[in-house]
């Protein structure tokens, strides 16, 4: 990644703040487990394997659209860096 130009690096890095990172981790786990259960129930009661897999794919696309790009709502508590200080000369 270091060989790419800085503008491309910025896009691929897509920084979000640490609180959102933690929240996203939890949400993806819970959402995917719930999606598995829901798509199995839907496929069993609609008696069609392919329909259940389509439901799973739809939920996955929703999750990817909401979580992967660095949206502004994921960047609301950015890390506060301290101002630049000069080092003490010994």
């Amino acid at each position: 990644m270091n060989q790419l130009p800085p503008s491309v690096q910025k896009v691929l890095e897509g920084k979000i703040d640490p609180k959102s990172q933690y929240a996203l981790e939890q949400i993806t786990q819970i959402f995917l487990i719930a999606l598995t259960v829901v798509s199995f129930v839907i496929s069993f009661f609609s008696s069609s394997v392919i329909f259940g897999l389509e439901v799973f794919l739809g939920g996955l696309v929703l999750l990817i659209l909401a979580a992967v790009p660095p949206w502004p709502y994921l960047n609301r508590h950015p890390v506060k860096f301290l101002p630049v200080r000069k080092l003490h000369q010994t």
Binding site: V11, L12, E13, G14, K15, I16, Q21, Y22, L24, E25, T28, Q29, L32, I33, L35, T36, S39, F40, S43, F44, S46, S47, S48, V49, I50, G52, L53, F56, L60, L63, I64, A67, V68, P69, P70
Partner: protein
């Protein structure tokens, strides 16, 4: 979760794991909920033994049995059930030789029945109906006066030792995901006696 690529990587690896778990659930649920089959009817109309050769290079003159039969069975509940992709039905004749006691089972005819939404363009997008019986379903096997597809020969070359044979129609259910299951779809009313050789 610190960069876009890392989020994509993490989510896709979790998703592929959960898809495997989902497919596992589907295969277990369909295996436990297979519908039962009404056993249908096989009737042998005509059975003759003649001298002939197999259709291959270097085959010798030996006794071959040819037969004509009727099959009538309804496999629609099995074909339209949850996880079925296609059914493979095959007719076997099983018999025993009197002198040596060896038992044999030969396949005489087979057919592949695929599910409606794989083949029929009108079924795409529509839900496949739960049971469709009667003349319109794809799973009705009704053949009349059909000849055997594969030639029936005995390894010893002659049918002298054999008194009778039992005809059964087996099916083999192939799911979209899961274990293969099989069973009996139709039987004949009793054993079929093997007539003597027709001398020309």
């Amino acid at each position: 979760m610190y960069s876009t690529l890392q989020r994509l990587n993490h989510i896709s690896s979790l998703a592929t794991t959960y898809v495997m778990i989902l497919l596992g659930f589907i295969s277990i649920a369909s295996f436990l909920s297979l519908p039962s089959v009404d056993v249908g009817n096989v009737e042998v109309k005509d059975l003759i033994i003649q001298k002939g050769r197999l259709r291959r290079w270097g085959a010798r003159q030996e006794e071959l049995a040819s037969l004509k039969f009727d099959i009538r069975t309804d496999l629609n509940p099995l074909l339209n059930s949850y996880n079925t992709k296609q059914l493979f039905v095959y007719l076997t004749a099983s018999y025993e030789e009197q002198s040596t006691g060896n038992s044999h089972e030969v396949v005489l005819w087979d057919r592949i029945i695929e599910r409606a939404d794989l083949k029929d363009i009108r079924a795409v997008g529509n839900k496949v109906p739960k049971t469709k019986s009667g003349r319109k379903g794809r799973g009705n096997v009704r053949v009349e006066e059909v000849k055997n597809k594969y030639q029936w020969r005995n390894p010893s070359g002659t049918f002298k030792d054999i008194e009778y044979a039992n005809m059964t129609l087996h099916y083999s259910l192939m799911p979209y995901v899961g274990v293969l299951s099989s069973g009996v779809a139709a039987t004949a009313n009793g054993p079929v006696t093997i007539p003597p050789l027709i001398k020309r």
